[in-house]
């Protein structure tokens, strides 16, 4: 807010940061990951709001995203990991620095642990569409992911 606005002479401009969540979600669903990261880098408010979507987003909204972002990337940023959803396939991508050399199962476990993504959520994503998962450059089919998830679950 500028000086005159603070004194009440000029009404502060409404900014995109103040848009309600529902509207903001639609807007970011149109953005590719680079632009979404740019938008998050504009202010702490935007950063926190977009980050919060992942944590508070109920499955219905996740479905909404996955349905509405065909051929698009959507990054839902968690504290330390990125969950990228695509409609042609879903990518759960960890920071390559952290996942390099790990097995797929280790990567899944790390992503779930670090992103606080529970098994139900991952399974939901698997079930939503006949998506494939991609870890780094490796694509994995859905059946294999589900088998790995089952084994992780069995170890819980």
């Amino acid at each position: 807010m500028n000086f005159l606005a603070r004194l009440g002479f000029v009404k502060p401009r409404k900014r995109y940061e103040e848009l309600p969540d529902y509207v903001l979600r639609i807007i970011i669903s149109y953005l590719n990951r680079e632009t979404l990261l740019s938008l998050m880098a504009t202010s702490n408010v935007m950063r926190k709001r977009i980050q919060s979507f992942r944590i508070t987003t109920p499955p219905r909204i996740i479905r909404h995203f996955t349905v509405s972002i065909r051929q698009r990337d959507l990054i839902l940023l968690t504290e330390r990991k990125l969950v990228i959803l695509r409609t042609s396939f879903i990518c759960l991508v960890g920071n390559p620095k952290h996942i390099k050399g790990d097995s797929i199962q280790e990567i899944i476990e790390k992503i779930m642990r670090n992103s606080k993504m529970d098994l139900e959520n991952v399974r939901f994503l698997c079930d939503t569409k006949p998506f494939r998962f991609q870890f780094g450059t490796e694509e994995v089919d859905r059946k294999r992911i589900l088998m790995i998830l089952e084994s992780i679950c069995g170890n819980c």
Binding site: T35, L37, A41, S68
Partner: protein, 165 residues
């Protein structure tokens, strides 16, 4: 032609053609609930209050609905193939003058409140287009958002996002 009066939050009256209002899910529901379509109801005598929409914004909404009269109304959630949504030239010209100010954002919020799906989609798409291909500082500059980050914080963000570049 049946006219229905919409009343904005600042108590301005807008008589609007009944047919146009089919584009708004919210108003359509109110019309049905208030039986305004019944032959023995005097629709003109029953204005619809819209306490969340200011007069100047409502005027823009009506202008948009008039232009899009007869367009098919979208059903359900926003489930389009977003990659294929293109903002038509008329809409682009309509949104542009107010794009970086509060008016366009208020129009978008009104579209959400009034449940005018086509307007909400195009409006959001137009906003997202202003972000495309821009860096954080460029978006801030265009939208007049003050930079609240310290150079250290900016560097930290840049580093965090480095892997995706």
């Amino acid at each position: 032609m049946v006219l229905i009066t919409l009343v904005s939050s600042d108590e301005q009256n807008f008589p609007v053609e009944r047919e146009l209002l089919k584009q708004s899910g919210t108003i359509e529901t109110l019309i049905v609930n208030m039986n305004l379509d019944d032959e023995d109801t005097d629709a003109a005598a029953m204005p619809i209050p819209l306490p969340n929409v200011k007069g100047d914004v409502l005027e823009k909404v009506i202008q948009w609905m008039e232009h899009h009269k007869g367009d098919p109304v979208k059903e359900g959630d926003n489930e389009d193939n977003n990659a294929e949504i293109v903002v038509p030239q008329w809409d682009d010209d309509f949104f542009k003058p107010a794009m970086y100010g509060s008016k366009h954002l208020e129009l978008t919020v009104a579209a959400s409140y009034l449940d005018i799906k086509n307007l909400l989609t195009l409006s959001c798409k137009a906003i997202s287009n202003t972000f495309k291909g821009k860096t954080g500082p460029q978006i801030r500059e265009e939208w007049g958002v003050p930079n609240e980050f310290t150079p250290e914080e900016e560097e930290a963000i840049r580093k965090e996002n480095e892997w995706s570049e």
